[in-house]
Amino acid sequence: MNVETILFFILAAAALGGAVNLIAQTHPIHSALSLIVVMVALAGIYLLLGAELLAAVQIIVYAGAIMVLFVFIIMLLNAGVEERTAISRAATWVGLPFGVILTVVLGWRIAFSQAPAHTGPGVDMVRASRELSQMLFTSYVFPFELTSILILVAILGAVVLAKRDF
């Protein structure tokens, strides 16, 4: 077992622990902090898988921007401990088998599928960041520019929704 595999298992354990803690905690701020643990662990896994640029984007955009938004809204709304209701107990009995079955089916299908490995043209993963950036600004420049319009619409929508009194 080499160093990469050991590191991967440490990070995977952190991600899984964070995800379980997200569900187990009742206070939203604890769930948000667990989600940050998951995202940082996933950034480390991206590094191990050779996606350096995505690891940086994951830290900056997810752990930085989106989670700040979450923590900000929790503090703004003064969200407290969530209350249990009758329907949430019913959801436990329906939701637990559903989640377990979904996970098992997904993992089983993926683990035992005979996908052809390494059939691509063979990209040198060390220079992946440069090639990824080139790809983003040549082949995928139109979707890339479209996302800027999407973000503009999202900003306008957020401002309009937050300002207006319904």
Binding site: F8, L16, M39, Q58, L77, G99, H118, M135, L161
Partner: protein, 100 residues
């Protein structure tokens, strides 16, 4: 097994946990966090498959998923803010009417 195979299985488990949280949790903010967890799990599988097939298109797609997730988070937070302002509650059992 290879590192990528482990990563794909981890992504499946994370997606399952996200789906569980989506069903279990009663707080609207925590439900939103479960959705983000599922998006992250899908991103991980994209990166792993991109490495398995030695194609960079998967990583390009992760960029777009992250952008859409950021836009979704901004709009979703505004909606949550309005709902909380009108209903004085974050419990989804109390938010069962389409009318605000």
């Amino acid at each position: 097994m290879q590192l990528e195979a482990y990563a794909v299985i981890l992504s499946a488990v994370l997606f399952g946990l996200g789906a569980l949280g989506f069903v279990f949790k009663r707080n609207i903010i925590t439900i939103f966090m479960s959705i983000e967890l599922m998006l992250n799990a899908v991103n991980l599988s994209f990166v792993a498959f991109s490495r398995i097939r030695a194609l960079l298109e998967g990583q390009v797609f992760v960029f777009f998923v992250i952008v859409v997730a950021a836009a979704e988070a901004a709009v979703g937070m505004a909606i949550i803010l309005q709902v909380a302002r009108n209903r004085h509650s974050l419990n989804i059992e109390r938010i069962d009417l389409l009318k605000l």
